[in-house]
Symmetry: C2
Subunit: 259 residues, 2 copies
């Protein structure tokens, strides 16, 4: 077997929440010099313009849909790096949150491949920016929890501890499981009137949000036909923001009626 | 008073964790077209090269040191926007986490100023990238909590709930308060042998990390002279990573001895 002159390297890169402008400068630089780019559904096709020189491999994975097996992705990363290529594995949002990065890291380390992680803007922070809200407040909400309702059937999520943590809860991949999420949060002791704001497609041009409460969210999200990808921001820190959004919406409706 | 022809606007922009390349494309674009840039200590001086046309105002604020009063910053944002300027308020990390953004948002809304939030890469995610670790794992650590040990003396942080949450805990501004943090975590029921990895200056060239445990961290951090800014990553999700880092360090020491 002929060995290529240069050593390959893998970059696990966070693509940010969707708006191409929320890529980091580093992500853009690495894309522009990559030999191979493995791309997520969540990362979006706009990034392709940033790496016209690269061979693109789509490795779609979206909750519930048919997807590229994780083991195939891992083998591909190792194979292409061993062939001497600079490989960018672009993941929606950030790499270290809910991205199954630990499996890819394990595979790369086991194969002795040089690799680097480039962090990105995670969807929960993009949602807060979209809402013009702080997730924390020095007087209340001293922190935030990023959790997922996806794939949690088997895991023992301590909902009671979460409900009592006084953290703002940001739930990823929660739309499809909103009914079981509601049951868990109420059983954990969270008040039914705790504010919930869902942000669909945060940072994208067609983003929208739905204000609700833990008690009402199942109905409200169904009525508003809320779709993935969306994050749910739950907690008292959202109370004021929900009021402001409701007032703005009422005003917009009133203006429309007058016009 | 003569009114300027254009309306001002304020951009609250996350500068990312320190590495200038972890700015977003949007942050870089806004910096390049800003009239005024208000800059944090944490954001660093390297960004100045990205906005040579702008008037720079330093509004340093670092835990424990003399700093620009928050109310002054808010007045400045409002005044400059009313004067018709494009104002970038650059904040270290992300805007919506621990940045006192809610106070600035409130001031801007009260004054009727148009504003936008641009999210950034937060230090906790940069720390995970530095450690080549995932903060979550589909089998354990189904989520992560970003919390602060700073300014929490008055607040009632439910440490017990946090300890029982099974979340990976990422503690910001915890170095100066590591002794009280340790007391709180142990009192909350976290095991003394729970892994803790401190990451100093994540994403910067001179970053380093210190592996410890909840029981040993006060001594270990003092011995290693750990300094702010640093984040502490706490939880079983870090166990494997701590082992890998220890092995690498032993290997490096062995190699140095042989050489």
């Amino acid at each position: 077997m002929q060995k290529p002159p240069k050593a390959g390297k893998v970059f696990l890169v966070g693509a940010g929440p969707g708006d191409i402008e929320l890529l980091t400068l580093k992500a853009a630089r690495l894309l522009a010099s990559a030999d191979i780019v493995l791309i997520d559904d969540l990362a979006g096709d706009e990034v392709l313009a940033l790496c016209p020189q690269a061979r693109i491999i789509h490795v779609g994975k979206r909750g519930g849909c048919k997807s590229t097996p994780q083991s195939f992705i891992e083998k591909l990363l190792v194979r292409e790096a061993l062939a001497g290529h600079a490989v960018v594995r672009l993941k929606g949002g950030d790499v270290s949150l809910f991205g199954r990065a630990s499996e890819e890291i394990f595979a790369l380390e086991a194969a002795g491949i040089e690799f680097e992680i480039v962090p990105g803007v995670t969807a929960g922070l993009a949602a807060a920016a979209e809402l013009k809200a702080s997730l924390t407040h020095r007087d209340h909400a001293h922190g935030v929890a990023f959790i997922t309702a996806h794939g949690a059937e088997g895991a023992e999520i301590p909902w009671q501890a979460l409900a009592q943590s006084a953290l703002t809860l940001v739930v990823y991949m929660g739309v499809a499981r909103v009914a079981s999420l509601q049951t868990s949060l109420l059983a954990g002791g969270l008040r039914g009137d705790t504010p919930v704001i869902a942000v669909e497609r945060a940072s994208r041009a067609d983003t929208r949000n739905v204000c609700s409460t833990v008690a009402a969210m199942v109905n409200d999200f169904a009525e508003q036909q809320l779709k993935s990808p969306a994050v749910l921001v739950i907690g008292e820190a959202m109370a004021e923001r929900a009021r402001t959004l409701a007032e703005t919406a009422q005003l917009a409706t009133a203006v429309t009626r007058v016009a």
